[in-house]
Amino acid sequence: MEQAAKAQGSSCKESLSEQLMKPMRKMLIIEKQGKIITLVCAWVLIVTLFSLLYFITSKGISPFVNNQITLAEFFSFEWGPTASAEQGGPFYGAMAFILGSLAVTLGATVVSAPLGIGAAIFMTEIAPDWGKKILQPVIEMLVGIPSVVYGFIGLTVIVPVIRETAGGLGFGLLAGIIVLSIMILPTIISVGVDAIQAIPRQIREGSYALGATRWQTVSRLVVRAAIPGLMTGVVLGMARAFGEALAVQMVIGNSPNLPASFIEPISTLTSVITLNMGNTVQGTTYNNVLWSMALILLLITMLFIFLIRFITRRREY
């Protein structure tokens, strides 16, 4: 009986009621402190996001607010920031880059979505055993490889191959699409695997019990039930492709053309920003227009994120 009394030190002389009524001020202060410190850490996230949105937005709209260029000029196809006044310049039309970004993103998605969803089905429905054992680490490795390494491989392997088989320089839309589709594959696969695994077993068993083949079960039941999750993976992959800078910049050729053919060099928003941000003087129209492109990049990424929220919210009911 006396053991804890000793452990409690001074409090052993107090009666139970005194002890229980003793306000736990010191304890409460520590508790409060803990909660406040962690809350501050959580607020860092909110503050960071909003200052990021604020700074990029204010910089991005500055060329329009300061009447350096008009929105119509910005969304035109004419790009020539160094063109002289006699040539009618300079021109700051970024439309070709926006379309370039969209083109590589869409291209990569078209290649990667079927492969990724197929791999996800393979890992969950066809061969869960060695699918997990082999594909899982493979996917983790693919995620881990830095984007510059993908760019470098694109530069040294994919570009020469395209040059030899399709002609041209090799740099261009096609090279960008190939590199990006490998990069976004793991995202689509891992989100897809989670989505398919979330489907109750009974759905499958019911179908097999009725004599349906595996393909019938997968295509009619599993994929249909998992569509929101599969879509989420695809949109996440698109967001990643759209925002990827260095790997794309290294292989697409960086010429301000419209994406007219697959093997012609083009530019994207990210590649133009990457190449010119360091070489332009702060405050000039040229530099400010780059910030406007960053703002477009940010807005479209936000659009992707809200699209995902919309898809996943619908899944709940």
Partner: protein, 277 residues
């Protein structure tokens, strides 16, 4: 100022039921008493106005079909329901003259006096020694005290001989029964007045269950014990008093021998004879 309801202390009550065991004292002290206790989980009224005493150095068993509110009731007694979001407890829980169901009560101190053991053995993922020393150390026990507390607690639950050579190995390597006894040792290391056991044997094999039951008999010499049990035979074997709960109500409370052989209420009899539940 928070309102404190005081009752004469200590409360001396005449036992409402004749105690059959000859070794029992004529007069029992009430260690804890609930007065009109209600528990709500959101909209659900889980415990509906229960008045129940726990007598000092006795074992009181709570029985009843699952979902009858017996575990919920038990969890009120050391304010564990505070940790469940949306739970609301109304009424008084009197311990030695004070109502412990008020916001001003220091639940941290309270739980040191009213310990609890859970359904599934839940040792911390620490060493056996650390499992027991963890809480006393936080309350300022010295190294020497800790060694003694660990040894005494383990001896009380008859675990000392089994584990004394591996005190600093992880507790998760123990068997289920050993883990549960360790959890009991962990609770008594704080030297509580009352120990609440929430179906402590439901996850154990028959042999381990037997050991825990023996232990409960042993422990009532030092502590007041309340035990929730799924198993009527177990309740009959180890308890001095039994409370039968149904649908959140306390249907009948009485001396175990009397309640099992000669229940006053029809519902109790139906349950005991297996007509339902």
């Amino acid at each position: 100022m928070p309102q404190t309801i005081t009752v004469p202390f200590p409360v001396q009550v005449k036992p409402k039921f004749k105690i059959s065991q000859p070794q029992e004292k004529k007069q029992l002290r009430v260690q804890l008493e609930t007065v009109d206790l209600h528990v709500y989980y959101g909209e659900t009224h889980a415990v509906k106005g229960v008045d129940l005493p726990l007598y000092q150095n006795t074992v009181t068993a709570f029985i009843g079909p699952s979902g009858c509110g017996k575990s919920t009731f038990l969890r009120c007694l050391n304010r564990m329901n505070d940790t469940i979001p949306g739970a609301r407890v109304e009424g008084r829980i009197m311990v030695e003259g004070i109502d412990i169901n008020q916001p001003v009560i220091n639940t941290s101190h309270l739980r040191r006096h009213i310990g609890m053991v859970f359904q599934r053995p839940n040792p911390f993922s620490k060493s056996i020694y650390e499992n027991i020393a963890f809480a006393p150390r936080l309350y300022g026990a010295s190294k020497k005290d800790l060694d003694r507390i660990v040894e005494e607690s383990l001896k009380k639950v008859a675990l000392w001989d089994e584990v004394k050579d591996r005190l600093h190995k992880t507790a998760l390597a123990l068997s289920g029964g050993q883990q549960q006894r360790l959890c009991i040792a962990r609770a008594i290391a704080m030297n509580p007045r009352i120990i609440l056991l929430d179906e402590p044997t439901s996850a154990l094999d028959p042999i381990s269950t037997g050991k825990v039951e023996e232990l409960v008999q042993e422990l009532k010499k030092d502590f007041t014990i309340a035990i929730v049990s799924h198993n009527m035979q177990q309740a009959a074997r180890i308890s001095d008093y039994t409370a039968y709960f149904y649908m959140g109500n306390l249907v009948e409370f009485g001396e175990t021998a009397q309640l099992f052989t000669n229940p006053k209420k029809k519902e109790t009899e139906d349950y005991l004879t297996g007509r339902f539940g």
